[in-house]
Amino acid sequence: MSKPAYRRKRWDSPVAGYLFLSPWLIGFLLLTLGPICMSFYYSLTDYSLLAAPHWTGWANYHRIFMEDDTFPKTLKITFVFVLLTVPLRLVFALLIAMLLNRNVKGMSFYRTMVYFPSLIGTSIAVSILWKNIFGRNGFINDVLGFFGIEGKSWISDPHYALYTLILMMVWQFGSSMIIFLAGLKQISRDLYEASSVDGAGKVRQFITITLPLLSPIILFNTVQTTINSFQMFTQAFVVTNGGPVHSTYVYVMYLYETAFTKYQMGYASALAWVLLVMIGLVTALLFWSSRYWVFYESQGGRR
């Protein structure tokens, strides 16, 4: 198949195709692309939400990198959050997925239950629940007290608050877990049987069969979770409101406050674009690294 022929085929789809797509296309153009372009325009102005924007060129970006003290601080908190959340959540999701990949009676019930936290995950209600559980007089400290341990105030102590939020994010591992589970199901039983005939143990099987065959899915989950973690907002907003002493003041929290409590929509738009570029770079890095560790069966075993 020559390249031009392929191109023509790809773009000359029947009108009906575009018409069927149009609800999505119109939605995308009006509700996603439009606001994205607007936000880029705003990032070059001093728009304040309450008054009309004035053109200021790159001044907002200059201020972010040169003058803003909060920017590096909130960036550091966000990176700590992402670097801890992503691996913990993936390891946790994979372990649970492997547990749920067995043939035990009533397994579908367990799967549903384990997935449950993710269904209600980012909602305000769970955040409030979390706030109460981890409060000074909350459930966790009651349990610890039962064992004679004096618990801390997990969400109002600057040393622990961020880790409590990380724990909450890790706990919502369900979506990654489901995808891992689907991946595990696709791995052919034959491989395990053949290797066990050759005398491979469980650990060996995991390292030489499961991990390589699962690596495309690990990549997908890593990218997905990384993007989600960078954009974490609800939990920080509801559980700790960025405090105490800005210890959970993640990037999007800063962005929100800049836009809606300080009315600096222009500056907040610039912050949003910096975040977008940052996520883009990290994702690109992940994809670049994937050629060294992701294994695609369809490519005849080439990495």
Partner: protein, 451 residues
């Protein structure tokens, strides 16, 4: 065959598209009607309604009204709105009420979308910000004959009335009377001084033991330092040019003293302070028994009394060379300058503050009513909590400090202030370092306000 199938699929797609578009269209119409100030009958266009804006017109009008507050206030306000609709059947209301958290965030977004409510409950911290941007309408034509002129002045900017004060509140303190009596302490009074305050702290702590504290640590609340600077005779924290005027020595003295009290366990420790939520049944440290006293506005007496009846006593903020507390308009009604129903909105506010029946329904849910006529009519029916609240105001009033609205651009400074003082509370910084940080932030606000 293939051709026919394709034709059919095009037709099907078109039908679906039409359906979706129609759904979108009707949705957005509903949305407009519900959220913005467009007239309720689409036939009578905005031109006709703005052409006859008289309050007496019988044309159907839907006013959007927003306020924040507690359940008590929500119930009373909704009842008052029903009352108004009964009197003026052409006026109906769409209500947007919530707690304080996020109220002004939402309002800013509504303004930028052109869908802000017609009638808006305003706070003193934001009056200048909103008026400075031309977002509030002149409401000077409302009858204010029975309202104290000095109170009306608090809603004026450069001589024009933009915000109608709705109630007076005094800043003072609340303490847990049952605990104070049980421990046999001299209770705080309306005449106590800072020396009495410190002595009370020491005495109470000695009897309370390790896990209970005397005062909720509110040093991160700019209100507390404002009162301290006033009481030390150093004046208001903003000067006449609308710039921050925190007296360095007084501030350091205050913060150092507060750190000392914190170390002694007289103030609540930082992690406990961080979970405090004023007037929350579980999270308010005075209500849940972790501490004995905190500052309180007199219009909150009803709310705290409802949480634990007959438990609390009230006092003034400690005095230094002068008094610390002040009287402040609790909140205001403002009219959206973009509203199409300014006249109807003004007529409603007029009724809200001047009508005796409205006053009876509303009670003291927004502080003591501003109209002397309404107060007079209400007095015979006051509840115990109402009487306490009035008594509170009367005792603070004689030497109360002047209340001034936050200057334009400084409405959010208290958030930055809180974060900086929290660092002292958690022992991450010294008062001197915190002062430098504070001044740096203040310079940023000054620069932004100057633009």
């Amino acid at each position: 065959m293939a051709f026919v199938a394709r034709k059919w699929s095009v037709a099907l797609a078109l039908t679906m598209l039409a359906g979706v578009m129609a759904a979108c269209g009707s949705n957005s119409n509903d949305g407009n009607g519900a959220s913005s100030a467009s007239p309720s009958s689409p036939a009578s266009s905005s031109a006709s309604s703005s052409a006859s804006p008289a309050a007496s017109s019988s044309e159907p009008v839907k006013l959007t009204i927003a306020w924040w507050g507690s359940q008590e206030r929500h119930d009373a306000t909704q009842k008052a709105l029903e009352q108004y609709t009964a009197l003026h059947p052409n006026v109906t209301f769409e209500t947007q009420f919530s707690g304080w958290d996020g109220y002004f965030d939402k309002l800013a977004v509504q303004y930028s979308a052109g869908s802000a409510p017609d009638i808006i409950q305003m706070d003193a911290a934001y009056v200048n910000d909103y008026v400075g941007r031309g977002l509030l309408a002149d409401i000077g034509s409302i009858n204010t004959a029975d309202v104290d002129p000095s109170l009306i002045a608090s809603g004026k900017v450069n001589g024009t009335l933009y915000a109608m004060p709705l109630g007076v509140a005094a800043l003072g303190m609340v303490y847990d009377k049952t605990v104070v009596d049980k421990l046999g302490l001299t209770p705080p009074s309306f005449e106590w001084t800072w020396d009495d305050y410190f002595a009370f702290g020491e005495a109470a702590k000695a009897k309370l033991g390790k896990d209970k504290y005397v005062f909720e640590d509110q040093s991160a609340d700019l209100v507390d330092y404002t009162a301290y600077q006033y009481s030390m005779g150093k004046g208001y924290i903003y000067n006449d040019q609308g710039k921050l005027a925190i007296d360095k020595d007084t501030w350091l003295q205050y913060m150092t003293k507060m750190s000392e009290l914190r170390d002694k366990g007289i103030l609540t420790p930082a992690d406990l302070t961080a979970t405090d939520k004023e007037l929350d049944p579980q999270l308010d440290n005075v209500v849940n028994g972790n501490a004995i006293a905190r500052h309180l506005f007199s219009n909150q007496v009803g709310a705290i009394d409802a949480l634990k009846p007959d438990t609390y006593g009230y006092a003034a903020l400690p005095k230094g060379t002068e008094a610390g507390g002040w009287l402040k308009p609790g909140m205001f009604w403002s009219v959206n300058a973009q509203s199409k129903h300014t006249e109807e909105a003004k007529a409603f506010i007029d009724w809200f503050i001047n009508d005796v029946d409205a006053g009876k329904t509303l009670g003291l849910t927004r502080g003591t009513p501003v109209s002397s006529k309404v107060v007079e009519a209400l007095t015979p029916n006051f509840s115990e909590a109402d009487k306490t609240s009035i008594d509170f105001i009367n005792k603070v009033a004689p030497d109360a400090q002047q209340f001034i609205n936050d200057p334009q651009g400084w409405g959010n400074f208290k958030n930055e202030y809180k974060t900086i003082v929290e660092e002292i509370q958690f022992g991450q910084t010294t008062p001197e370092q915190a002062y430098d940080k504070l001044m740096k932030k203040a310079a940023e606000f000054e620069a932004a306000a100057a633009q």
